[in-house]
Structure formats: C-alpha cells, structure tokens
Symmetry: C2
Subunit: 454 residues, 2 copies
C-alpha cells in the first residue's frame, strides 16, 4: 500500500526557524512612528519580551528553536504531509496535490506554532501573564493552550459578537485555563469608555486589541501576544514549510506551486518562505517555483490594496509598517464568514509580492466553500473556511494541469479543521452566504487620510 | 529527542481484524428470539448485508480487511500511540502511560473504524442507502463520512433534543452529504404515531432506532447500520489494539493494564481484545495482563447489571442477547453528560467479564471531568467525555504505582476529541453537573418483566 501520508519522527522536528529577512531582494523597510521617525526596539519592549523584539528585527537566516518549545511541539508535530489522491482522481488531473495538515494541533490550527514560542520567551523573561485579542477564537485558543503549557495566566479579550455567537472556542480556552472577557469589557479604561458611549456595540478586533494592549502596557508582569502579521510570528510559522521540505525529500519530489491562504500572512509565509529560501539560494529545483497567496474578494489587501506605510491596528496605536493595505480603518463586510479579515499583509509577504516573487489571487466566498465541501467529501477532513481559500486555488491549478497535461506538484497549507466553524458551512448550505467584492474606491478614501512616508 | 508519539506507516495498517469469538473460554451464547428460539441469519439479513451477518456469527480468528476499506483508513490511520510524558511527570508516577489516539479521524472518534467497512459491505451487496440513529452525533457523523466515501445515501434519525441543542455534529453530517431528521419524524409510521401521541417529546435513542430500522426493513435498497454492541462492530474496532501491539513492538514494551471506556463495548473491546488474544495464545508477556472496562456510575451495566438474556433495543424489536444489562427499558439520568448510555454491554465483553477475564469499574461523572481537564492542560488534547472515563482510571492506576513503586505500562483508549462536547465541559466548570449513582433496585424491577432463558 502506497503511503499517502508522509510522516516524520519527533527527532526530525526542525531545530531552527527560517527567517526570510536574510534573503529579501533588498533590506526590509523599517517600521516608523506616526511622526515619521524609525521605531526603536525599546518601544516594542513595553509589551514584548527581549527575545521577541530581537526576532522581530533580526536579519539572521536561521534562529534556533528552544528545546523546551520543541518539547511542546512534539505533542502533535511533525504534522503530516498528505497526498490528496482521492481529490486528484475526482478531478481527473495529472497533477499531484499535497497538503500540509496543521489541524492536528490540539487547538486545531497552525496558530500554536507561534503561541508556544511566544509563551516560552515571555516566561523566560519573568512575565507571569499574557493578554491578547481574538475574533472567532483560533488564536485565543492557541495562546490559552500555550500559556497553560508554560504556567502563564492568559487573559483573552474576545470580540463581543463572537463571544455571544461562537461559544465553543470560548469554552475551549476556558478548559485550558484562560480567562475570557467579552470585549468591550469593564476591565480596561478604553473598554469602559466605549461601553459608556455605545452600550450595544458588537465589538471589533480593533477594540479588543486596544484592551489587550492597554492591560499589557499598564502592568510590569504582563505582556501582549499577537497571532499573525509581525515578522517573528511569520518566522515561527516557517516550521510548516521546513517540515514539508523534509517530507518531500523523503519521496523525492519538490513542489512546483505553493499555495497558502493569506490574511495577516503567517500561514502563507509559514509554508512558502522555506521554499523561497531555496530559490534565493539558487536551488535548481526551486528555479520555477510559483508561490500563490489566496485572499478573500471581500478583504483583498494584496490584489487591491496599496503598498505603503500604514498602521498595524485599527486605532493607529502601533508603529506604521510598509505593507499592502486597504487602510487601517477597513471593516470587513458582515457577509464574510471566515477569517482572513486583516486590513494589511505582513511586511515580508508584502515586499515579496511587490518584487514579483509572490503571486496573489482574490477568490469569492462561495467558490471557497464549494471547494471546501468537495474536499471534505473526498478526503474526509472538514477544512476551516480560511483553508478553503487555498483549496480553491489548488483545485483550480490542478484543473489547469488537466488541460495542459502537466504533472505539476501542488502544495497547499491546510491550516486547520472547521470543527468550530460549522455554522459557516450551515450558512453556506442554506444559501445565507453571498459573494462580495470590496470596492477599490474605498481603499483610496481610507488611505487619503494617512501620513505618507514610503 | 525521544519520540513520545509512536507512528506507523500506511503499509503497516493491519490486514486482518481479530475476532475474539475464536478464543472465548466457552462457545458464545446464541442470540434468541422473544419466544426462546435461536435467531437465524436470515432474520438479520433483512437489514444487514450478507458479509456483516457472517461476521456477526463468525468463529474465525482472523477476518481479512478489504483493500478498499484500508484505502479509506489510510486517510487518517494508522492512529498514533502516544506516551503521556507530561501527565506522568505531573503525577510523579514511575508508571509509563500510553494512549491510542482515535480522535485523528475526520469524524473525531473511533466510530469510522466500523462505519467504513459497514458502508463498504453494503455497497458490495448492491445497497444504495443506509439508515441509522444517532444521539449526540458521533456515530451519525461517522456513517455520513463512510457513506460519502462509498457513494451511499445516508439518512440519520437524530434524537430531537440533540438535533435542537447540539447542532454542530448535525452540520458536520450534512457537510458530508447525509440527510438528518429530527426524531421522532414524519418520515416513518412509528415516528408519526409518537408525534401524534406526544408532540412535545424530546425523542430517545430507542425511538430513533425504531425509525431507522423501520425504513431499512421496508425498502429493498436500504439497510441499517449500528455503531456499537454487535459482534461485528466490536471486531472492526480491533484495529485499534492491533495497531497498538505493533507500536509497542517498535519500542520493546508491552502493557500491564489496558483500559477502555465501556458503553456498548466496542471501544473497550477494540483496544483490549487483541491483547486478550495474546493471553489466550499463551503469550508470556500477557500472562498477568489486566483489562479494565470503565463505565459511568449512572449507567453501570457491568458492575450493577445482571448477566442474562435481554433485548438489544429499548422497544424489544431485536433478538435477545446474553449480556450484562440494566434492563432494556433503562433510561439514563438527565444529569449524565457523556455517551456510554447503553443499557447493556456487548456479548463478548459480557462473557469475558463473567469469566473473570475483564475487570469493570464504575466512576462518578465529576471525577471523569476532573481527569479530562487535567489531561487537557498537560497533554493538550481535549478529550471526549467518554474518553475521560478511561483517563480517570489510567490516572488512578498510575497513582497506585506511585505508592507501590511499580513501573507498570498503562495503555488506554483515547476514543475521541471533545470539540463537539464543549458544552459538557462548560456545564462541568459552571457546577451544573452532579454525580449520580444508578439505584441497583431499578435493575431488578426492570429485569423482572423479561422472559428468562439463560
């Protein structure tokens, strides 16, 4: 019986993360403060531990994964690389379709890959408590798990509408010992202010970030943790692509196309950057490698945004980063069911896209659920809505191969399972979901308000 | 880095199931009809395909797993055997604790191990449609998945209270293409009758079974599938223990104690019977092997039931089987949160318990959730409430080893994850759950009504 799941042993968990900052075509643009001055490490130090600040700025190609972090990873890693044989057969494609399955983590997604090291470095720095924000709860659940593993208290500000309507992931966070507050909350000054002004607000990720950052900035024993976008987070996710490379080595293959869903950028960067590193190093197998970032038509930062300096958060608290952005006051349409709602894309993903090294495609919502259901019925796994974006493009690429007869090797990142997103599938089946295209003119309106630096 | 997850390759998926009927201390007692006559295979043939009827009666020790079934299994099998190192350290025990993790299946439990072959044999017999009943939905989801894999329509009668209150697994079944009806339904005669008499009924597993069997018996293209209790189901689950044996061989260990949750008996039998087979064959490593069936205090068939002939279903439609039973009209207390609600235990589990070859212990509900939360916070995986029963006893056995200093090897069956049971954990945390002991005198009252044969 031919193996369709390519497995690795615990000792094959990578020992170092890959940092693509070392291989960018030009030096990365520095983060800027709102007055145009370059942001200093100390300004990040108020809410992040020293090791994270260092990683955020680092130009080292390889950064060692601490032993204690790998000890936790081996509870579920290495993650399997799986060949989707039944999907290939159903499509009648000569392409070989592989996916890296990150849904095997206890939290059900790739997010613990960064939550675990972030919790570790904070504990090493003497921090006792972490705060964060969460929407549907994928990141909050992962930080709850990671905090529990290293004995840290975790406080999660969960967007009110999700807190009320998506209780399962909240219960999961509580099972791992985290405290979860409906945001806006009475716990913070900004939460109290917003509640006084808008008692019936549904909350937003922007408000929840403000609450989590306020608490972390105000207490010496407390730091803040972010689940995507920042350089260190994307680098932590490189473990996905590094494992996939080892797995392809075992079967003597190398991908022609690497596909990832793209919101903040850590799932795309996580699977693709190690292969782009091969390309930068002149590896012949990677000479014609294509990398495709898949984003929703309703949040099309790479395909419709502008490459410019913008704030990382909705309120303009953070330094500005040079990235593809829809404007930091972008609000995703209510009809959009999945994640991938961030207004920008990570700096490195943005820079590589600007340099023509990463393709980007925006896909309409219904087509992603079509693909996700087709996948679930053939391969079993019910994918998270974010992962459905990558599946859509993997199927489209495989169908192109059917036309051309090319036997391409396609790799995509199956970032998580959809067990906590079943209501989105129900909305899809009952016809409640629609396609929505974000209007390009909104981007111009939003960006016109910004200071211009780059 | 020492491996704590012992993995197998796809080609190591067992090629044969183990049938303990060949190794029982005495021939199994035959199923009887209500009039005391021995049930004939044709009577099962109305709702089961020939291969399943044959397996149900078979005394062959090894039965080949069809190639097509193994092809589906390799989407997620072999399942990992995991050493719970962090749990051992937290307990300070010299024991080695291992679990076989069946939550890796797309449905999240061990149930597809039988759903897949049942769907296969039905398709081979020319059947186009399967019916079944489901409570919380673990079995229904597994049959939906399996039916989809072999192109069969699946109709699931889901107990009304679960249909209304546990929508996530219903959505999962629908994602895999199954039709799900709230039971009692308008689809069947017995459903319509009950609705007319009791329009506000919450439904019950007994009613749902009656609906599923009625539809299957009345249509030539339709069969019925059951998720536990019957001999063929328990045998299909032997793949769990057979894989575990190969995994222990790789690390040169053998379990001293094998522990499984016990409702109908397929998860206990699935992990334990292959080791009991070694014992029957005189394998010295198994000479002192202990097998422990863990049941809830609120449904204590092995510890408080009587070993006698009783009906398999609540309504008395099925043949009678000789088994430990609380009486077929047993109704689990509303306070009981998990599965393991069946009134009896599989014939082979019952016979082995009666012969002193399987120990049984009943555990109170709160202690199982205590154990499950402790496990989740150390090992990451949030276990299903059923699995928490096995974890409770594994921890208790490990604590005994701490007192005696024995370095025992403990193996338990982690039958599934708790992603769809988070409301039970919330009830536990909020103090809504209580312990409940089923009163022994109820058993006598219920059994007094039965015809007596053995």
């Amino acid at each position: 019986m031919e193996s369709t799941r390519i497995l690795l042993e615990a000792h094959e968990i990578p020992t170092h993360w890959y940092n693509i900052a070392a291989d960018l075509p030009s030096p990365p643009a520095p983060p800027l403060m709102a007055d145009g001055s370059v942001a200093r490490p100390e300004q990040l130090g108020a809410i992040f531990p020293p090791a994270i600040v260092e990683q955020e700025m680092s130009l080292e190609r390889w950064i060692e994964i601490p032993h204690e972090v790998r000890e936790i990873f081996r509870l579920w890693r290495p993650a399997p690389l799986v060949r989707a044989v039944r999907l290939e057969e159903a499509l009648g494609t000569p392409a070989k379709i592989f996916f890296k399955y990150e849904g095997v983590s206890p939290a059900g997604s790739h997010k613990p890959n960064s939550a675990v090291p972030q919790a570790y470095y904070n504990r090493e720095a003497g921090i006792r408590r972490l705060t964060t924000e969460t929407g549907a709860g994928q990141w909050g659940a992962s930080l709850a798990l990671a905090g529990q593993m290293f004995g840290l208290e975790v406080r999660i500000y969960m967007v009110r509408v999700s807190y009320d309507q998506k209780p399962y992931r909240r219960m999961m966070m509580q099972t791992w010992g985290a405290e979860v507050f409906s945001s806006p909350s009475q716990m913070t000054e900004c939460g109290r202010k917003i509640l006084a002004e808008m008692p019936d607000t549904a909350g937003s990720l922007g408000i929840a970030i403000s609450e989590a950052v306020e608490e972390a900035a105000g207490r010496a024993d407390t730091n803040y943790a972010l689940g995507s976008v920042l350089n260190h987070v994307v680098m932590h996710q490189s473990i996905i692509g590094l494992e996939a490379k080892k797995q392809f080595d075992k079967i003597g293959l190398y991908p022609d196309v690497v596909i990832g869903p793209c919101g903040g950028g850590s799932s795309l960067g996580g699977i693709a950057f190690p292969f782009l590193g091969d390309k930068a190093a002149g590896d012949k197998r990677a000479a014609n490698l294509r990398t495709v970032a898949v984003e929703p038509c309703s949040c099309p930062s790479l395909t419709k945004g502008r490459y410019t300096y913008d704030f990382g958060d909705a309120s303009g608290f953070t330094p500005m980063m040079k990235m593809y952005t829809l404007g930091h006051d972008f609000v995703p349409a209510g009809i959009h069911a999945g994640g991938l709602r961030y207004h920008g894309a990570s700096q490195h993903v943005s820079q590589l896209h600007a340099a023509g090294l990463i393709e980007a495609v925006a896909v309409p919502q219904l087509a992603t659920f079509d693909a996700g259901v087709q996948f679930a019925r053939l391969e079993g796994i019910i994918p998270a809505p974010e992962s459905c974006h990558a599946i859509r493009v993997a199927i489209d690429e495989a169908l192109k191969c059917k036309e051309t007869g090319e036997e391409k090797v396609i790799l995509f990142n199956l970032t998580g399972h959809g067990h906590f997103d079943m209501t989105s599938f129900e909305r899809y089946f009952s016809g409640d979901l629609e396609d929505y295209e974000y209007p390009a003119e909104e981007v111009e309106k939003s960006l016109a308000k910004l200071p211009r630096f780059g």
